[in-house]
């Protein structure tokens, strides 16, 4: 049998033991512990509080008289207005921060937009040029394809090919002049080559014979020109795509 320790007995005496029921059962069963516990109870029972001397009803006043001289009054607190509340101060700080952030954002956006607006006409012009050039190269490519395939036909190609060549020629002259101002040797060379072919086709007799076409194909290397035009179209298409992406990004 495990006896109660002195600490457990003291805890039990003050009813602070966690296992009160178990201690009670043990004390009933164990004479040794019961005797020790009884002695402890007797001892503590005799340790009574010393009766405090009576203090009259004026005691509080006496204490107050003795201490009040050394007490400074608290400074009267000003009435807290709504604007002095700490919560309001925090809220105001947050609001100020939000307004500041908003205006900073607006200013930044404004400054950024100016740059975009300033660069927009140039971008727009570039996009128009690319679009028109792409269209011109497309029409030129189709003409060259017709020209290259016309060689196998028995009959003359007829009027439409020459009419198309004449229309393209006037446009091509403008593009070639514009391209001459840029540093794009491929485009310059291609447009120059195309112009010569277009001149040849446009100035040929009304009814182009197969022999004429074959001659143009050989002399003017229309197959090579067609390849050049296709390369250029691919390049222009890429530039168009890039220009559109930049414009979208600027708009965002």
């Amino acid at each position: 049998m495990k006896h109660l320790t002195e600490e457990e007995m003291i805890e039990h005496y003050y009813s602070e033991d966690l296992y009160k029921a178990e201690a009670e059962i043990h004390l009933q069963a164990c004479k040794q512990c019961a005797q020790t516990y009884e002695e402890l109870g007797k001892l503590l029972g005799h340790v009574r509080a010393v009766d405090a001397p009576e203090r009259g009803p004026e005691y509080g006043a006496q204490v107050w008289q003795s201490i009040q001289g050394s007490l400074r009054p608290y400074p009267p607190k000003r009435k807290r207005s709504f604007f002095m509340w700490p919560q309001f101060a925090y809220a105001a700080a947050c609001l100020l921060f939000l307004v500041g952030a908003f205006w900073a954002g607006r200013l930044w956006e404004h400054a950024h937009t100016k740059t975009l607006v300033a660069s927009n006409p140039q971008q727009t012009k570039e996009r128009v040029v690319l679009f028109v050039l792409d269209n011109h190269l497309d029409r030129s490519e189709r003409l060259l394809v017709q020209l290259n395939h016309a060689g196998g036909e028995e009959e003359n190609t007829g009027f439409p090919l020459q009419a198309e060549a004449r229309q393209l020629l006037s446009d091509n002259q403008l593009y070639r002049q514009s391209a001459a101002q840029t540093n794009d040797p491929l485009l310059n060379a291609a447009l120059d080559h195309l112009e010569r072919v277009l001149v040849e086709v446009a100035n040929s007799p009304d009814q182009l014979s197969t022999a004429d076409i074959e001659r143009i194909q050989q002399e003017m290397n229309t197959q090579g020109l067609l390849f050049q035009i296709r390369v250029l179209r691919t390049k222009v298409s890429e530039q168009k795509t890039n220009a559109q992406a930049v414009t979208k990004g600027a708009n965002i």
Partner: protein, 190 residues
């Protein structure tokens, strides 16, 4: 009472110093009683009461409105009592040995059934109890008084003394042990 106390505290903090006088008048008796139980000396108890209310006034701005002023000033009084006891202890040299003589105790208990002897025994017990209490450290003494005489829980004792509940329990345990060692022989042959 709690609400009244808090209204007075607000008045004091608003600059009405005299409102604190009402709080002193309301709680000084109970503070004195517990201070006396701890110090067992009238002058010391008065000193504790005055010091407790002084400290209370100075710390009044820290008073939590959710707390009870009586509990709060009681806790301050415990600390003041602790200081007074420690101060006294440093001034007084308490003899460690010789305050208890089991032979003497046994002799005095031999004929305790007689009337005058019984009175003598009571006086002897009181003297030994006081001597035993003197042997306790300030913390043990306050913990014991709060537990045994004021019927405070371990948590309340811990809160008043600013120690862990287990330390408070151990302080009570050590106090009882010391009292037992000093007083038990008086009952050995009873």
């Amino acid at each position: 009472m709690g609400n009244d106390d808090y209204a007075l505290i607000r008045s004091v903090l608003a600059g009405e110093k005299d409102a604190y006088g009402l709080l002193v008048a309301r709680h000084s008796q109970s503070v004195f009683r517990v201070a006396f139980r701890i110090t067992e000396n009238e002058a010391d108890a008065d000193e504790v009461v005055q010091e407790a209310f002084l400290r209370g006034y100075r710390k009044l701005e820290d008073f939590d409105a959710r707390s009870n002023f009586r509990t709060w000033i009681y806790r301050i009084a415990m600390n003041c009592a602790l200081d007074v006891l420690n101060k006294k202890r440093s001034r007084t040299v308490v003899p460690i040995a010789g305050e208890y003589d089991s032979e003497e105790a046994t002799v005095q208990l031999a004929d305790r059934t007689a009337g005058p002897d019984r009175l003598l025994l009571s006086q002897e017990i009181a003297a030994r109890r006081q001597a035993a209490m003197e042997k306790l450290t300030a913390t043990e003494r306050i913990a014991f008084v709060m537990r045994h005489m004021e019927d405070r829980s371990t948590d309340e004792i811990a809160g008043a003394l600013g120690i862990a509940p287990n330390s408070a329990k151990q302080a009570v345990f050590r106090a009882v042990q010391k009292l037992r060692q000093s007083l038990a022989p008086l009952w050995v042959k009873s």
